[in-house]
Subunit: 248 residues, 2 copies
Amino acid sequence: MNENNLTEDEFIAQYDMSKYPTVAATVDLLVFTIRDEQLQLLLIERGGHPEKGKLALPGGFVNTDESLDEAAERELMEETGVSASGYLEQLKTYGNPHRDRRGFVISTAYVALVPHVADPEAADDAAAADFYPVSEILGELSETLAFDHLQIIEDGLARVRAKLEYAPVAHEFIDDETFTMSEFRRVYEIVWGVELLPSNFRRKVQSVPGMVEPTGERRRTEADGGRTSDLYRAGGAEILYPPLRQPE
Amino acid sequence: MNENNLTEDEFIAQYDMSKYPTVAATVDLLVFTIRDEQLQLLLIERGGHPEKGKLALPGGFVNTDESLDEAAERELMEETGVSASGYLEQLKTYGNPHRDRRGFVISTAYVALVPHVADPEAADDAAAADFYPVSEILGELSETLAFDHLQIIEDGLARVRAKLEYAPVAHEFIDDETFTMSEFRRVYEIVWGVELLPSNFRRKVQSVPGMVEPTGERRRTEADGGRTSDLYRAGGAEILYPPLRQPE
DNA sequence: GTAATAGTGTCTATAAGACAGTATCCG
DNA sequence: CGGATACTGTCTTATAGACACTATTAC
């Protein structure tokens, strides 16, 4: 190597990156939402090869002028119309050379939590996009998932369940900026798949600094009877300490 | 698109992946160990451009016939002689297009926890490899780190500290297969940077199912006086429940 | 014996689970 | 009023922090 005789600028100018192996970089999105009292996930039906007809995570190639995070934000906007101002976090990168028959494709998965958005339109690649209950995806639909997306979904679900324990993200599922304690508790119950005692949940949430703050407003539900409930908004905490622990 | 008229095999045969943007895929290693009662991290001094002379994480390009995990295992073996039978886990992927002046390089960082291995030899690319205390890396050495590696190290340190809470990985730092409760506690104290009360630590560790199991053996330390201590080995737990919480 | 380290027991403070009781709201 | 939902209080259990005490070992 004679590179030591060059300045850095000279070195960069003569550098040929194509002599190193290159791969296609993609991002896949795990867009979780709550619909019909169930945790649901956005999937597309693949309109083209490979894995034609199977269900897959939405995603696409990373452009050379954008970061992975920016590519994920762009895809989220394209698929759902939701801006990434909410929760969008990198999950993991999947890089088995045989996961895609087209070649070496490494895919970085991102998890997004969104409120009840409009039904997604079919994207321009003629792939029908829809939300499916996670319980069905992991159950009867698990055989119809493309690539290694079942594994990615399992990893993402574990991340979401864990994230609710120590990060203030549950309100991302709620459409309104303010919410009742019951609505807030329902998010935890649906994501964790458990029932929680209302009074203990309230005590815990109110005791964690910065988790929620009372608005002073009240609201009645759509039900027949019942007391009007206090409204809260998300607090300023970045992490929840002590965490809300998922019952074992 | 007329791809819908093709079988999948025909489609794959005529598929030209080069029409999509490609990037160079690399893995970077965060090799943590404990030396001299300090948490230390393996860094190399870069022998070539770019970022010549700066400190960087060891790593390298991913070959086209190996997965990201396999590339990380290979690099770990090359740098330290340690097999990946211990703890080696993906941390995060860094994909800012401007992080490396040579072009679009996306790097997947892995965290490894290793016992006190031999001093690493300079690798074949003439880069001097050494362990440095993490406190120095984040302090006076932080200005001399290449690329975005300071950020990666901060993320990795947070992961290691959190991982000790809920995963049985502390024994990966210990040279021997068996260890005393004091040695085990020192790992937590060094990684977390706190002092822990011995009796409470012991009670907690012994109450978590599958965290450690007694060997029935005893051992005396090298010190002047002192009672011989019970020896333990790692238990079979995959996760620690309830977790050991880091003091706030 | 003393100094040093390992291990046990216990009191207290904090947090979590269970659930009874009170407060509103609708019709 | 009754039925329904929201909120409060309290008893009990589990866990964590602080620290005194006992047990071994080297010298």
